[in-house]
């Protein structure tokens, strides 16, 4: 949710039951403005909230001029003080895939995971149980990244690509029409395209290169079998 239209977006998203209490809302509005000024972001988005046992993480993302460039992620425990998170890497993802269960709510908490690692000692090779410590911050980073890659969605027409490369917000985008809004093909994944190159030439011919430069949601698995609703 864009920080500038936070209240409206919260109201619209209230159907799922997750909302913000008034004090959090007020804190967010104030602090996100400051974040935008300090980090010189083009747009600041309130990404959401990750529930933990002891405390909850509130996540925000900052977008620079090029909308599709990797975004900077910040987290806060009280919606007032924001800390920058490191960018996600593949190693982080493999490392944290073994951790299961809830988030603690403490960024310095370390998960312990015992692994069997082969250790070479001279000529002997034997397995040793190694306890690997994984910081919660790392897990937070990779979880946010996975969620973004899987479900960050943007409607068709909201962003457009200029011939020079950078991707801009389409100021004349007025929203999708009702018939378009019902189709999955009008929504794209908000990430670098993965499937786009695999499309056949026939499909590509119908695409508009300035608007259709991301993967559409149509081909995601599991497919929606019931065309109704």
């Amino acid at each position: 949710m864009d920080a500038e239209s936070l209240l409206l977006a919260l109201e619209l998203a209230s159907g799922s039951g997750q909302g913000l209490s008034p004090d959090r809302r007020a804190s967010l509005l104030t602090s996100l403005m400051l974040v935008k000024r300090d980090y010189r972001f083009d747009r600041v988005l309130f990404w959401g909230r990750i529930l933990g046992l002891v405390a909850d993480y509130y996540i925000a993302q900052g977008v620079s001029e090029d909308q599709l460039a990797p975004r900077k992620t910040l987290y806060s425990l009280n919606c007032m003080e924001w800390s920058l998170l490191p960018p996600a890497t593949k190693e982080m993802e493999t490392q944290t895939s073994v951790v299961k269960g809830r988030f603690m709510g403490d960024p310095s908490h370390e998960y312990e995971h015992t692994e069997l690692q082969k250790v070479n000692e001279g000529e002997k090779v034997f397995e040793e149980e190694v306890v690997v410590q994984i910081k919660e911050e790392t897990r937070l980073v990779s979880v946010i990244d996975q969620i973004d890659k899987a479900v960050a969605v943007i409607p068709r027409g909201a962003l457009f690509k200029t011939p020079f490369g950078p991707i801009n917000v389409n100021r004349t985008f007025e929203g999708l029409s009702l018939s378009e809004a019902k189709k999955l093909s009008s929504y794209f994944h908000f990430r670098e395209p993965v499937e786009l190159k695999n499309k056949t030439l026939l499909e590509k011919a119908e695409l508009d290169p300035s608007l259709d430069f991301m993967d559409s949601l149509e081909h995601d698995i599991p497919k929606d079998e019931d065309p109704r609703g």
Binding site: G17, S21, P22, D226
Partner: protein, 766 residues
């Protein structure tokens, strides 16, 4: 190619009302008419009128893109198709038409096809009838229609000549054509007849087919806009010819865009907007009924006043508190739900009603209301199928003849456990659901233990439609409404909590005997409850207790002993049968669950995490904060309590309304109407408030992904014995050996008279 279309149009406009060049009529509204057919014919006639020298024209009129080869090809083709000498001159004249036609149909086709086209063209006009015989392509049909009219119009072929003449000129070609067309007379008519007869001999050739294909391609409707190229081109050319702009070729693209835009603007005005608005209008209509105050029947008013005090809960107040906790649907939606609940309480005889929560679904969501009916006014029980009690198979099979007795399977179906009576245990409350406020409320059926047991093993998302079948393993006995009810029961049993002391057991019961067997299953509000400090509520989980009975693994809250029942029902059986039942697995042990009103600190942990998370709603202003409880076992279940309050009722909105009404306590009915809901909820002194709420997908938390249980191994159906064990048939040698042995035995006893019997037996074996 575009040129030819306006030409045709012009022809239509100017020359011949009668002919109307039907060839392409079906295609275009603007009647890009008779492609080449009539034109071809007329062109053919052309040479005879001295238009022959215009063999070069093909290149000029049609489009700059025309290759110089085309005319030649056309000429050749045309020549080939028109055997008669009269027609030999035609090719040149025909070529523009041919080209025109090509442009019509397939301007971008290869030269080969273009060369073919002229050939096809010639038979066309001659063979309109033949074309009509062919089925299938629109081309045929259009040709046919055109052909018919063409036949009619053959009388007036002269315009074609004009067409050709026009093509000679580089500029203003179209206009010239038309002029010429107009000027010419129908001398050629007779000529037309001749070529027609001659051409009618020629069978449809490749050219024809190619023309049809290209035309079909041109007529292909775009999936995006619903236009087709043919129509578009004809419209465009019509427009150009109508307006006659300067340097038309330079602005032709803009003209094309304008024509397209005109299409769209029409649609938007009439059709699209209306269709789009309908679904939202419908919803608004439905919700409007919520806002209209229903007529309260005068007779029941007093009755309702007494009872309806408790009926409608103050949802807005609870929503306010939940909002402090960061949970809740927006104000608008909550208010609509409030009105929908009011509608529910008005239409059903309800004693207590509570907004249980919202369950999200894939297509639609469920809004759930927990309801308790008035004493004795239960809704008629929907006829429910009797829970079939399966008896041992031994009973049914005892009657069979011994000879044909099938081997008895070992499997004894477990006895179905009857569901609990309404108002007790898991069926203590009745639940109503609706998809959206404004839609009618649907009552969920009572839950059976079997459903709960299986609901524990499966995980299915709700779709939002109550009649969706649940396809799963183990197979769920019921459809989505049953599954929903089972999940609601589980969630209520697992997460409905209240501050310690809010409820206490009634004074009447308390006999220990009952406690052992079934546990206390009813409680009352404690009028002396003074509330617990919010800090205490947050810090220690022992300050909260479950006030809903725990559901045993059996699926019920109160233990049901299947053996007991079965013994009672089958008293007539012999003791042998009872022994069989005694072999049943260890269900005989009574299942015990935590009794009612146990503190939630006793709840089991999952993976070393506490099952509940507590928070203060606000760290900044702790004086007015409330305690919020969040379940880790059932994500989405929340509870809050607002601890001690220093004074009563200052935040009760109803006080304010009463002040406005200004009446004494006598005139209840009028006040009711004015406030819109019963203000006499106030009768109860302002209580420490707590509330439970659920909003989520309806599933339990599991750190691992769900995996369905593996099917059990295949049962051994029946004991294997010699009668049914498969054995190879004895081979011939074995049989002979056996027979020999038999005979030997028989011979040995031949002296006895019994040998005869044995021989008989031997015969039987054979």
């Amino acid at each position: 190619m575009e040129d030819s279309i306006p030409v045709n149009q012009k022809i239509k406009h100017q020359e011949l009302g009668e002919t109307g060049r039907p060839w392409e009529e079906t295609v275009t509204t603007s009647q890009a008419p008779e492609l080449g057919l009539s034109e071809a014919l007329e062109l053919e006639q052309g040479p005879e009128t001295g238009l022959q020298p215009r063999s070069s024209p093909p290149t000029m009129p049609l489009s700059g893109a025309r290759t110089p080869d085309r005319p030649v090809d056309d000429l050749v083709g045309l020549r080939a198709s028109f055997p008669s000498s009269a027609f030999q001159e035609l090719p040149s004249t025909l070529s523009p038409l041919a080209l025109a036609r090509q442009d019509f149909m397939a301007p971008w086709q290869s030269d080969k096809t273009t060369s073919v086209i002229p050939e096809a063209e010639t038979p066309h006009f001659g063979h309109l009838e033949q074309l009509s015989d062919k089925g299938g392509s629109t081309l045929h049909q259009t040709c046919q229609s055109k052909g018919n009219t063409f036949h009619q119009s053959q009388q007036t072929k002269y315009p074609l000549y004009e067409l050709r003449d026009v093509s000679d000129h580089t500029s203003k070609q179209k206009e010239l054509r038309f002029d010429i067309f107009q000027e010419d007379d129908s001398d050629s008519n007779c000529h037309l007849d001749q070529p027609e007869s001659g051409a009618s001999q020629v069978a449809p050739s490749m050219l024809e087919i190619a023309i049809q294909n290209t035309k079909a391609y041109l007529l292909k409707t775009s999936s995006k806009s619903g236009l087709n190229l043919y129509d578009h081109l004809s419209e465009m050319l019509t427009k150009v010819l109508d307006k006659r702009p300067e340097n038309a070729v330079d602005i032709i693209e803009n003209i094309s865009q304008d024509v397209k835009m005109e299409h769209f603007s029409k649609k938007l005005d009439t059709l699209q907007n209306e269709n789009e608005m309908l679904p939202t209008y419908e919803m608004a209509e439905k919700q409007k009924t919520l806002f209209l105050q229903g007529n309260v029947e005068g007779a029941d008013q007093e009755l309702e006043d007494e009872i309806a005090e408790h009926a409608l809960p103050n949802i807005m107040e609870s929503a306010f508190y939940f909002e402090q906790a960061g949970v809740g649907l927006g104000t608008d939606e909550t208010y609509r739900i409030f009105l929908a609940l009011k509608q529910l309480t008005d239409t059903h005889p309800i004693q207590k009603c509570r907004f249980w929560g919202k369950i999200l679904g894939l297509k639609m969501n469920y809004i759930v209301a927990e309801v308790e009916f008035r004493e004795g006014e239960d809704e008629e029980e929907v006829e429910e199928e009797d829970v079939p009690e399966e008896r041992d198979n031994g009973d049914s099979e005892a009657d069979e003849d011994d000879e044909d007795e099938l081997p008895r399977p070992f499997y004894k179906a477990p006895q179905a456990i009857p569901k609990e009576e309404s108002r007790t245990g898991a069926n203590k409350y009745v639940y109503f659901v609706c998809n959206e406020p404004g839609r009618p409320w649907v009552k969920l059926p009572a839950v059976t233990p079997a459903q709960i047991v299986i609901a524990r093993k499966i995980k299915k998302f709700f779709t939002g439609r109550l009649d969706t079948p649940i396809i799963s393993y183990p197979p769920f006995p019921g459809n989505e409404s049953n599954y929903l009810r089972a999940q609601i029961a589980r969630i209520s049993a697992g997460t409905h909590v209240s501050p310690l002391g809010f409820y206490h057991f009634g004074e009447e019961e308390g006999e220990e005997e009952e406690e052992i067997e079934s546990g206390r299953d009813s409680f009352e509000e404690n009028p002396d409850f003074e509330g617990i400090q919010v800090i205490d509520l947050v810090e220690s989980l022992s300050n909260w207790v479950h006030h809903v009975q725990h559901i045993l693994p059996q699926g019920r809250c109160n233990w049901f002993n299947p053996i007991q029942k079965s013994e009672e029902e089958e008293e007539e059986e012999d003791e042998e049968k009872e022994e069989e039942k005694g072999e049943e697995p260890d269900d005989t042990e009574q299942e015990v669950g935590p009794p009612l009103l146990t503190p939630i600190s006793e709840d089991l942990e999952i993976q070393n995490t506490s099952p509940w998370t507590t928070r203060l709603s606000s760290n900044l202003i702790p004086q007015y904060a409330i305690a919020v409880l969040r379940s880790n076992l059932w994500p989405g279940a929340y509870a809050f309590s607002n601890g001690k309050l220093s004074s009563l009722g200052h935040s009760n909105p109803l006080w304010a309304s009463q002040a406005v009404c200004g009446k004494g306590s006598t005139c209840q009915c009028r006040r009711r109407e004015r406030c819109g809901f019963n203000p006499w909820v106030r009768k109860i002194p302002w209580k420490r408030k707590f509330e439970n709420f659920y909003i989520g997908w309806g599933h339990k938390y599991s750190p691992d992904s769900y995996t369905p249980p593996v099917p059990p191994p295949v049962y051994q159906e029946y004991p294997s014995g010699p009668e049914i064990t498969e054995m190879d048939d004895p081979t011939v040698e074995e049989e002979q050996a056996f027979r020999a042995a038999q005979e030997a035995a028989a011979n040995s006893t031949e002296e006895n008279e019994e040998t005869e019997e044995e021989e008989d037996e031997e015969d039987d074996y054979d």
